[in-house]
Symmetry: D2
Subunit: 358 residues, 4 copies
């Protein structure tokens, strides 16, 4: 495949450009017998919808999902599930000004060089709207996981210089502030920081954290398909992600073995770990502890300040990106991270099913 | 596949346990016509061989590679290349003491839970010896890349708290110190730090950096097979890696758009970037700049200090790992990172070949 | 993947049920730069459309294709091409009578056993309408092949007992008779035979032949992805196909080496074969001769005569399939065979691109 | 992958040339906990070993398999199983005469054109010795199937013009005659026919039949990975196979629906079929009846009679193949067919495991 599919058994194939007819996904390999309706998917899509706060683009999109196949009498039938979200607010005219120019930090130049052709209307396939397909598929994965008692929970962990404080951790807060930050104080400071950046016609980056609870032990395939490696691919495939850590990540690189090793102990007949520096993955397989990983997002490349760049013909130019863009990607990316994690976990669970005879 | 294969076209399938007959790899999809002999591969294997300094395990292994197929009259024939390194120093007896115990920080527990059976002799398939197969395959990938003018160069960037200073950067130094650190002063301090850790029966972590030069623009497949995502999977699949960054990575998350965006300019008719915060990847495709990524390695889990743990029957125990182990994985992992990067790059180059009609 | 995708590089993922919202396909890996419009695809779909002769079902379907993504300014952009054909004539009510019964020769029973759930409205995913997606994708493959000078030509070779006579072979006739038989006399007899079968409320089988000209030498991958093996999978994956032969096929099994071997000779500086018993494939790779294969189709299982069967609860029943069904699948399957062959060939051509350095 | 791997979960990757160091296979995805020793595999290899009758080549090969990995204390450990058979009787000198000539019916010409290089010593990778790897892997698949109550039984069904008579069918006879024909009379006539062909310095073709009993219902994935389609690919990937039929195959193409449809009935509470024209596959999934398929083998291309051909430089030549070759491939191919079927079935069984929630 040419890069638009992910998953060996629970296989997700996405399509669509930001200013084309729409965006969609085919989910092949979803087990039969799962209750599934459009509302199950819509709930996830609504979490990444634009126009919900002052920190997101004003583009008007209902982002209504339609199920085109794979469901019979309210249940998955084992056949491919085709989902589509038609684009409404295409406004192609807005983009004619950037047709012959390479926006810094965007994929314009690389697309042109790779394919010799590029849909210049707002990024085409490299637009953030591509993630609609990931979220739609991930909503299905998350629903199966829930039936298995596995919960994936992502959130904004850092926005610019503001990091959540574990002492203030309150998952319920995630839904209560537009930044999806489960720490009220950090969220408040981050919001002020974002307003400042917007005023300065600038943008900023941040970090999404993700916790997965309820995992059985032993999920993930040695050698190349370690759970950490597949999660890494899944998360790093999201546009704007520049880093991935599991457990202590780069901090572990500065630690010592006597600290970083998680001691095992017997907790009422269950083997557990006293600490979780590993982030729930040992030897590439889930170790029964909570899985914890972090994804670094770069600042939104679309900024309203003037930038130096070149035109497609090589001429040097100055560019000012018009329209209002999200000053930070993180809040809307939270659900995308959650969904990519869910897709990865469900696929590894299915691959694991034939790992022993019994 | 069950996780022991990597690459869509240049496909690498590895096998072998640390105390079995040997370790090997089948490389399918290597183009015909490449001059290749055992010496080409041995040179890479020698870089990860144990017993070369006081900072590596004393295990005696020649790690001599044999080519079993795929070469005809000194050239690759287009058929699968089978490579084997037979184990010499198996010393299974040393390991009987740990047969019924789960070493902290190792994959013992997760292997047992996944498969219901585990080769307890030194980690079996999760041993560092598994990387022999990666290096053998990577040596072939690197040789093809060299013919294309692409060079992959990995090195130790951080050892414990010691980070190389860009001002002292000297790639030639990599081969001159046993730590593969291209900064003489940092290497010296790191060596002293390691001796201290060894004396304390402890270990430490570090960071491997990797630079790839000579890349054409547009390599990497949107959406899920972005170059950064596939490199991420490749590197995170190496045992002990807990984090991956491309370009500014987690630092970008704290930056702002006006700084993090790399401005394009016209350099004597070529489009280039003034800075390289992106690490050579834009929109998941190579952008013509040097590719730069970092991998975080956790401290070696095998330490000679006593640790709390449990036996396979759930009993709590204290364990002291015998034998001498590398106090840090990083120096020997440098070539492994380089080889996994080479395999990833060559595969993406081949996948890219059909991306346009002309 | 769970069986709805085909092709390693030119990767086709289909979805849809006969009485759902529609049928579609995502084509990932189509090279950029191909001129493509809906009419290019519609032309192929029209060849399999129902209701075009007295020998096809009366179901009224326009089968209008819509391109939802992947095209920019009339050319493929290298991104996934999503195609959909919405169903119009769903008439679910007609099918309620067969909801609790297993039709002989159909997939009702196996679907129910596999998934525990089944879309009983006309076969669901196992309906012939699933082939719409194959044809839509195949039309794109065929267009690329044409630009490379490769032509795939399928036709009805046998209908019931009537076989085309090579002496009467006239490819232009294919479009002139509703049976797609390039032999006027055989077509006439076959038509009379079909009318007889319809009157008897019975159906019959036949054979589709396929010729591929213009192939370069060496396409197809040893060992498991031989051109003949991949064509075999592609064709045998079409519903109702029970046999596949390449070249002399089962006749070769009764031949002797001195006859079956095709002698090479030098034809004005080109190496050619005096005969083509091989059907254009030697050692699993194209040998430069015309590729020739045959596909055996079983009789349409839907017949209006009473048949013995069982209900889903195990009760024995008699069933009479209502509605008018194609008395033979072959004429409408011709274009499906052609399209599956085109998809296979283009994929193997792309896979072959990295087979040598030069 | 480049064609040397087969299977999505039970994944088999083969390597090796007839006159290289040896032939081998890596089996990834074999479940843990299967008792397995070299003798289990050797028993299958012995069935395809040369030199066992006057109808096989005299090449002296012990074909002793060695297990290099994946087994711990007599059981599979869930890790890749690496198997190797080293070549003994290489006799490269015999082949120098054919280094610059294209043997009719062989892959010499296509290999040269594809790769620009060719191991001319006896066919290299396209030699029949490549099937050693298939048989070694298939022996493991067959052992797992046996534990599940599934038996795969292949045999010689036709040799030249001699077909087994169902009335004489006696599976025990398969092991009693060197032709593996379970009909004593047919075997006798076939043996005489073969002697005649050998005397005439000619060869002949034949058909291998295969029956699979004990299959659960619903195995095989719609749409492209139908059980019949994957069996087709598996069998057509064996060198010299030119045709594949399941159930009535090409005979079904001449049948009518009222005969070809297998009526369902209730057999003591189980749903069964009165006939088995389908060959045990309906809609691409196993239907609970015995699976039955046939593979057509062309005559051995190596014959001692003079043949016209060309040299690599285009010169026309006459060639006489020296050495003694099998006058027919079928008897030694029986176990190869059986093994490829076993690999296919086990893989589809594993893929099926996640098909429903319950």
């Amino acid at each position: 495949m040419a890069g638009s599919s992910f998953g060996k058994i629970f296989c997700v194939s996405t399509w669509g450009e930001t200013h084309g007819r729409g965006v969609g996904v085919v989910v092949d390999g979803c087990p039969a017998g799962l209750s599934l309706c459009e509302e199950d998917i819509q709930r996830y899509l609504d979490r990444r919808k634009p126009g919900q706060s002052k920190f997101t683009t004003k583009r008007q999109e209902g982002d209504q999902v339609e199920i085109l196949s794979g469901i019979f009498e309210g249940k998955t039938a084992g056949t491919p599930i085709s989902l589509v979200v038609y684009n409404k607010d295409q406004r192609s005219k807005d983009y004619s000004a950037i047709a012959d120019i390479y926006r810094p930090g965007h994929a314009d130049y690389t697309f042109d060089q790779k394919y010799g052709i590029r849909d210049y209307r707002g990024g085409g396939r490299s637009s953030g709207r591509e993630t609609i397909a990931r979220v739609a598929a991930g909503a299905i994965a998350a629903k199966i996981l829930q039936e298995m008692g596995i919960e994936v929970f992502a959130y904004a962990e850092e926005i610019g210089p503001y990091v959540i404080d574990k002492a203030n951790w309150n998952p319920a807060l995630r839904e209560e502030n537009v930044l999806y930050m489960p720490d009220a104080q950090a969220a408040e400071k981050a919001a002020a920081y974002l307003e400042e950046k917007m005023e300065a016609k600038d943008s900023c980056g941040g970090v999404v954290g993700c916790k997965i609870s309820g995992m059985p032990v032993g999920i993930g395939e040695p050698v190349f398909d370690k759970l950490s490696a597949k999660l890494g691919q899944a998360i790093l495939s999201i546009g704007a992600v520049k880093g991935f850590e599991i457990g202590d990540g780069f901090t572990a690189a500065k630690s010592v073995g006597s600290v970083n090793n998680d001691a095992f102990y017997n907790h009422n007949g269950h083997i557990e770990k006293e600490t979780n520096h590993s982030g729930g993955v040992l030897g590439g397989m889930s170790d029964g502890s909570e899985i914890y990983f972090r994804a670094a997002f770069k600042p939104t490349p679309s900024i309203a300040s003037p930038q130096r760049t070149v035109a497609t013909n090589g001429e040097e130019r100055e560019i000012v990106i018009k329209g209002r863009h999200d000053p930070i990607i993180v809040p809307r990316a939270v659900v995308v991270v959650e969904c990519m994690a869910a897709i990865t976990i469900i696929d590894e669970l299915f691959v694991n099913m034939s790992n022993r005879l019994d």
